[in-house]
């Protein structure tokens, strides 16, 4: 199996810092922002972003998780049922700016499902999307507002984001 | 006049003490001679003799099933005299005693005559009706036992139901004496565990099914033995299933009472674990018991406490079995699997093949007073079963000759099979 490192710890840190600044710039501050990560790694990235905001702006932002499993469009089509993760929306999201955070943006189907979950919880002012890696191959009309790195891949390749919290190391690899 | 020669087989006839290579000659439906094997006998086959080469096979007196339900009249959708007789022949049974719980009940001479007429017209094997003990099987008053005997009944029984009233059972044992009819008793206490559907024990507890304790049988066997002692009557315990009942019969015999007993192949083959999965083909009455009961039954077969192996062949339509376990009908078909299941006991060393023939033929003939059957003595009826002891085969319920398919042995690998069944010198079944 061929492995290609496309990001190391330093690169991930730099990318997240840049994303944080872009979010602040685009939203003219951090007021009314709620960060919702998609389990498992999206939640960790969301927490890291929140941490960066705290150092930049001095204020902690509400962080939660949004599990899109129950809203997936392939329920009953895969051999085994996908495992459920936690959904935890920490504050009411009506009129808030919700930023969905995930590790890899691929087909866009998970993001579609996550948006449906969020909308069932309330009516945010807007929903934005931040991802560490955009690997292309969209199957739905979805694009990220904030991208750590664009990584063109073939369909056969797998993009794996490893994080200290879950994998003991910060890196992004492409496997064939 | 038919003439039959069965050549070169191992002849086993416990009644005449024969076990060896013999040629059996039957003329006009009777055994004409049993002579030491003579390879050259009839090497030029004469026209008027049928010659069967039985080399490598076992020739024994035809099996006699003391306990069959032929279901006719009344329940022809389950079995008829004809289909039941075909199943019997396929299982090596040349005679069957059919129970009285038909509709109408065989509690009067006209029903007996109807069954015998059917048997004569369509029956392949000998059919001996068992008359009812009580009128309508109601357990209230005696049936016309004398007339039943005259019409051809060879025993009386309310099988399927116990005789609840001790008073009536006493009368039956007394009244049957001059007619020399055995009283076959279906032993279960009527008031204990009324709604039980399987053996009471860990399995019934786990499955949440109502249990039937051994005591339900033991109580009634004890009562009937006491009544046999009181009356000097002729008591036969049907389908014995418990350790306690075996011991009670053993004691009764030791005390010189005229008490005999039979066991079914399923009661010495299967335990209540066969019910797991709510298998309605493992539902019967008495229920399948435990290993400890099976061990006691095997000892009882060994020491002669249990005289006979009988099938309790109880055909049920699939509609009566493909239902919830507690609603399912009791019983299984047994004629076509009795021999191979019994042969497992021979393989286990529980008894010799000769003893098995006693349990399947010699003894049932004696118990039912069928003097010309159950042996290959000269002059006896030429009812003969030829068995291949080494033939391996697999039970396929769909292939059974019986009209019904309710067997828990579907798919079982068996060893030993009936090759030919001969009734009155005529081959009625060939594998």
């Amino acid at each position: 199996m061929k492995k290609k490192h496309i990001m190391d710890a330093k690169g991930i840190e730099r990318a997240l810092t840049r994303i944080a600044h872009e979010i602040i710039e685009k939203n003219k501050g951090v007021e009314d922002i709620v960060i919702l990560g998609i389990p498992t790694r999206g939640v960790h990235i969301a927490r890291r972003l929140s941490h960066i905001f705290k150092t930049i702006e001095g204020a902690a932002l509400p962080v939660g998780s949004v599990d899109a499993t129950l809203y997936r469009d392939d329920i009953g089509m895969k051999e085994v049922q996908p495992a459920l993760k936690r959904t935890d929306i920490p504050v009411p999201i009506d009129n808030k700016k919700v930023i969905i955070v995930d590790d890899v943006l691929f087909t866009g189907r998970t993001i579609r499902a996550a948006m449906n979950v969020i909308i069932d919880f309330g009516r945010p002012a807007n929903i934005q999307l931040a991802v560490l890696i955009d690997r292309g191959h969209r199957e739905l009309p979805i694009r990220a507002d904030y991208v750590g790195k664009n990584a063109p891949t073939s369909m056969q390749e797998k993009v794996k984001v490893h994080l200290k919290e879950t994998d003991g190391v910060d890196e992004v690899v492409v496997e064939e | 006049m038919n003439r039959l020669l069965i050549k070169g087989g191992r002849v086993i006839d416990p009644a005449s003490g024969i076990d060896g290579l013999f040629d059996v000659y039957a003329v006009g439906g009777k055994i004409a001679a049993v002579k030491p094997y003579e390879p050259s006998a009839f090497s030029l086959q004469p026209n008027d003799w049928t010659v069967i080469d039985a080399a490598g096979l076992v020739i024994c007196p035809g099996f006699i099933d003391m306990h069959t339900h032929l279901r006719e009249p009344g329940y022809e959708y389950k079995e008829t005299v004809q289909t039941g007789a075909m199943a019997a022949a396929a299982g090596g049974f040349t005679s069957v005693a059919c129970m009285a719980n038909t509709n109408p009940v065989n509690d009067n001479a006209s029903v007996t005559r109807y069954i015998l007429k059917k048997a004569q017209e369509e029956g392949i094997v000998n059919v001996f009706p068992v008359g009812a003990i009580s009128s309508g099987l109601k357990g209230e008053t005696l049936a016309e036992i004398g007339e039943l005997k005259e019409a051809g009944c060879i025993a009386i029984s309310d099988d399927g139901r116990p005789i609840v009233s001790s008073g009536l059972m006493r009368l039956a044992l007394e009244y049957a004496k001059p007619f020399n009819l055995p009283v076959i008793s279906h032993c279960e206490d009527a008031w204990l565990a009324i709604d039980g559907v399987m053996n009471e024990g860990f399995i019934s507890t786990k499955l949440g099914l109502k249990g039937i304790p051994n005591a339900k049988e033991d109580i009634m066997v004890a009562r009937d033995i006491a009544l046999a002692e009181l009356t000097g009557g002729r008591l036969h315990i049907a389908h014995i299933s418990t350790k306690g009942a075996v011991q009670l019969v053993r004691n009764a015999k030791q005390n010189g009472l005229n008490v005999t007993a039979e066991v079914t192949p399923h009661h010495f083959t299967l335990t209540d674990e066969a019910v797991i999965g709510y298998n309605t083909n493992a539902k019967m009455n008495p229920p399948l018991r435990t290993k400890k009961d099976i061990d006691a039954i095997k000892t009882g077969l060994q020491d002669g406490t249990i005289d006979a192996i009988a099938t309790d062949h109880a055909p049920q339509n699939s509609d009566e079995k493909d239902v919830e376990f507690d609603k399912a009908a009791n019983g299984i078909v047994g004629l076509e699997t009795a021999l191979p299941l019994s042969l497992r006991l021979v393989a286990e060393g529980v008894m010799s093949f000769n003893t098995l023939i006693e349990k399947l033929s010699t003894n049932p003939a004696k118990l039912l007073g069928l003097d010309s059957k159950g042996s290959l003595k000269v002059g006896a009826d030429a009812d003969i079963t030829i068995v291949d002891l080494n033939k391996e085969w697999v039970v396929d319920a769909k292939e059974l000759k019986s009209k019904s398919r309710n067997t828990p042995f579907d798919g079982w690998k068996m060893k030993g099979r009936v090759v030919k069944t001969i009734v009155s010198g005529k081959v009625v079944y060939e594998e």
Binding site: Q81, R86 | L207, L209, V323
Partner: protein, 308 residues
């Protein structure tokens, strides 16, 4: 860990891992029930038939709510309201329902083993919602979830089950479930209500409630069916309640943080005194809440995969 079963028929056949998967999945579904919009689209287009041959409000409603919160179409068929079922054999009913192409049938039936029979007859999933005196798996799962939430664990807890064990499917399912997850299970009741060789199922048997509940963390009180008195299993309701009902005096033998479960509906003053039923120990309402979550989890785990 995934559930690869077609049916949920009995706790006895589930492994410890499978039970834990169901419980953790149910925990996720509790959150769904607390949302403003208590509905997820997961089982959209799926058909679930609640086939009830016995009257039941609690269990049927719970399954129905669970199905609806998953966006499945839930259809209720009960013997009292349906001519389809009257006089028709279970086999024929199964064939008819199969023709309607459901994804899951939830069956409550007075005959032990009926769900197993149905499962053999239909291609869709079957959930046993209580069969005769056999099992009531979803009830045991919700009891396990309730106890796990309260104590943070099951292993090592002492569980006492009191009442008519012989006729109780709830007792059987719970004995299997709690024993599999490492709890110590005791049962108590009059000997006439103890089935044969019950201890082989992995529990200790007592005739005195006080002995069974000694140091117990959880006491499960079974409903006494008063019609059983006619069969003579106990002399009078008065004597039963005096000797076997859980009251505050007997409760002194239990652990300080004891909780009480009851599968409902309660016969106040017969198997449990009112002060105990309404007291601080009772988790009865929590059980009801967890019932919906557990049943959502079962639906999800049975229908969330393709099985092909």
């Amino acid at each position: 860990m995934r559930l690869k079963r077609k049916d949920i028929l009995a706790i006895e056949e589930l492994t410890k891992d499978e039970i834990e998967l169901i419980l953790s999945t149910a925990e996720s579904f509790k959150e769904v029930s607390e949302r403003e919009i208590k509905k997820v689209p997961t089982l959209r287009g799926r058909t679930i038939i609640n086939l009830f041959y016995e009257p039941s409000t609690r269990t049927r409603t719970s399954f129905e709510i669970a199905a609806k919160r998953m966006s499945a179409d839930a259809i209720n068929i009960s013997t009292s309201s349906s001519s389809v079922v009257k006089g028709e054999t279970l086999k024929d009913t199964a064939r008819n329902l199969e023709a309607m192409n459901p994804d899951c049938i939830v069956l409550r039936h007075p005959s032990s083993g009926a769900p197993e029979m149905l499962a053999r007859l239909v291609r869709c999933s079957v959930i046993n919602a209580g069969d005769g005196s056999h099992e009531h798996p979803s009830q045991a799962l919700l009891d396990l979830l309730t106890v796990k939430e309260r104590f943070g664990r099951i292993a090592g807890l002492k569980i006492a089950i009191a009442g008519d064990i012989a006729h109780s499917r709830v007792a059987r399912s719970n004995i299997h479930g709690f024993a599999k997850l490492g709890a110590e299970v005791s049962i108590a009741g009059p000997p006439t209500m103890m089935p044969s060789e019950i201890e082989k199922m992995g529990c200790k048997m007592f005739y005195k409630v006080e002995d069974a509940i000694r140091d117990a963390h959880v006491i499960m009180v079974l409903r006494i069916q008063l019609e059983r008195q006619k069969t003579g299993l106990f002399p009078t309701a008065r004597e039963y309640s005096k000797l076997f009902a859980l009251d505050s005096k007997k409760l002194e033998h239990a652990a300080k943080d004891v909780v009480i479960l009851h599968p409902g509906p309660i016969n106040r003053g017969i198997e449990i005194s009112s002060d105990v039923a309404d007291g601080k120990y009772s988790l009865i309402l929590e059980q009801v809440k967890n019932g919906v979550a557990v049943r959502m989890a079962l639906f999800y785990l049975l229908m969330g995969g393709s099985r092909e």
